[in-house]
């Protein structure tokens, strides 16, 4: 009964999504049978290293892929009940920038260098909300004030290169909000920024999320961002989900060997000065090859012979919140014994 209710309030429902990319030389499958959901007002962090497929998983269904790449998708991505994979380009354009806002890693690449900031943002409000030029300009001034740009009216007249990195990202955020989205997809929103600015942007996103009651999917490799703003975390490795659960569960008590190793690899201000750094051995697998068992097995301390043969299913963690799943039967067994 509870599950039914959850299903109904899910804003974004991704089920068995696989993405295959074909280029002239090879085919790779950066997303392999992934399912997750985002409820209204929830912040989901998708964590993974480069090549884990986290960006493509979010951008491909929205039709945002680099030129020259052919993609093939299966499964379903439902936004408010409507499948985005079967939606036409027109519908996608309407959703993208409107009900789903997107923040890019490099705010400069998302802005047109030769047009004034105010106009660029206003255009989005005009298109998606049907505002007049006057109304849109007023809305832009409000948005720029909302993201904490001092003196928004004169900022609207500026060009992107006249702003600092932090200011640009604020403009990028304002732009993603211009269509009054219900869901914000933020792709590495703080990676290009310094620590002090990064802290400001995380605060801002958290604050906006509360005030506008949006859902956010934040794609990141930085556990600092995850712990700072997410409710829920999905950990990805080699195109597959390895662990999914609430932020407190996953970060404080990681179960999957990959999540554990990754968390230990993050140096903290509490680690011993002069001590050896902890990392994971080896490197991620080649996604253009077929992976039979668990993709993490070659780097895993707990791997058994069977791990290399069968793909581990996502199983619920015993004695834990219902929403918590892990793709590692080996650790789950010992975990169950320990509890």
């Amino acid at each position: 009964m509870k599950d039914m209710h959850d299903m109904n309030t899910s804003l974004l429902e991704v089920a068995n999504l696989s993405v295959t990319l074909h280029t002239a030389k090879t085919s790779v499958q950066p997303v392999d049978n992934v399912s997750y959901s985002v409820k209204a007002g929830e912040v989901l962090a998708i964590v993974g290293e480069s090549g884990s497929g986290k960006t493509i998983m979010n951008m491909a269904p929205l039709g945002l892929l680099p030129a020259g790449v052919d993609s093939e998708m299966s499964g379903s991505v439902r936004f408010e009940g409507q499948d985005l994979l079967s939606a036409g380009n027109g519908k996608l354009r309407q959703v993208r920038g409107g009900e789903i806002g997107v923040i890019f890693q490099d705010p400069l690449s998302a802005l047109n260098p030769v047009r004034r900031i105010g106009r660029q943002i206003a255009e989005i409000s005009e298109r998606h909300l049907g505002l007049t030029t006057k109304q849109a300009e007023k809305k832009v001034a409000e948005l720029l004030a909302l993201v904490g740009l001092p003196d928004p009216l004169s900022r609207m007249q500026q060009f992107p290169h006249e702003l600092s990195g932090g200011m640009r990202q604020r403009v990028g955020i304002a732009m993603s909000l211009a269509g009054e989205p219900k869901l914000l997809i933020a792709d590495e929103p703080t990676t290009a920024l310094d620590v002090t600015v990064q802290a400001q942007i995380v605060e801002l996103l958290k604050d906006l999320q509360k005030r506008l009651r949006m859902a956010i999917v934040v794609i990141t490799h930085d556990f600092g961002v995850v712990s700072g703003m997410a409710n829920k975390v999905a950990v990805m490795y080699a195109g597959r989900l390895s662990e999914l659960g609430s932020v407190d569960d996953v970060l404080l008590d990681p179960v999957h060997p990959y999540t554990r190793g990754l968390l230990k690899s993050v140096p903290s201000l509490d680690s011993e000065i002069g001590s050896e750094f902890i990392g994971l051995p080896g490197h991620p697998p080649d996604l253009s090859r077929r992976i039979d068992g668990c993709p993490f097995a070659p780097r895993c301390f707990a791997a058994l012979e069977s791990c290399r043969e069968h793909r581990p299913p996502l199983l619920p963690v015993p004695h834990s919140a219902a929403a918590r799943v892990v793709a590692c039967p080996v650790v789950l067994n010992s975990h169950a014994e320990a509890v």
């Binding site: 620590v195 932020v247 970060l251 140096p267 994971l280």
Partner: protein, 324 residues
Amino acid sequence: MTDPLLNIVDLKTYFRDTRTGQNIKACDGISLDINEGEIVGLVGESGCGKSTLGRTLVGLEDASGGEIRYGGENLLTMHGRKLHTTRRKIQYVFQDPLSSLSGRMTIGQAIEEALIINGERNAAARRARVVELLEAVSLPDQIAERYPREMSGGQRQRACIARSLAADPKVLICDEPVSSLDVSIRAQVMNLFLKLRDEFGLACLLIAHDLAIVRQAASRVYVMYLGRIMEEGESRALYGNPAHPYTQALLSAVPSTNPVEERDRQRILLKGDVPSPINPPSGCRFRGRCPIAQPVCETPPPTIAVDQFHVAACHFPGKLALAG
């Protein structure tokens, strides 16, 4: 106490802004020591001049003033052959290993070229040395046959370090050596620096924006802001008891992976942006953004010993209290 291996005194690197003709003061009076076999950290945000400092040390930028003393002799007044041989003792590790290797050469060829430059004429000796160098950075010798694009990021960075080692350096200047790498493989490269220090006594200037990484690796740390050093000292003392408001703000911004801690932590959120290095503020460079700035901060800040192990360039060191 022995003399430091690398002794930098009041180093200045200015660039000319071609549009206005004014000087951009990227490094404006930096003094810094690196002892033999020591890992020294240099932290600061982008645009503070920390990369420029590193590039000046290896001659990629021209210094505008000051001294760079290696083994007691000033590199900036040295010429010809002597400069050439001394310079090689200071090597540089770039942020992006892929672009710092030629795509048309295998790793073996790249390292061999570095050996040729270093004066090794015997081809057999060179090949033997390539294997040794690869071993020193824990890479299998088959890697010599590979092209950079056929390797993982961590392997590439280690190959770059192997190539630098071909010049028999005493100091490595590492500019963000792991920031382009994935979190799980950063340890491979960071531990290599520790190993090179322990086995060959190689000193290292670790330039990075990640305060946690620097803290763990470096025995001493310099904090840089807008072309000047704000605070310096032993890692334990500086991180344990930061005295400069800028250092405190930086440290308070470092995120933790613990969501419970993260929820109720206090941050010092700095106002405004870093000012332009063309016309930096008089006196303390940080005063425009400092939460506890006073009128006296318009005069140059004194260098005050915070404790036995570290100093801060501030009128009011340790006076900024974290609320809560």
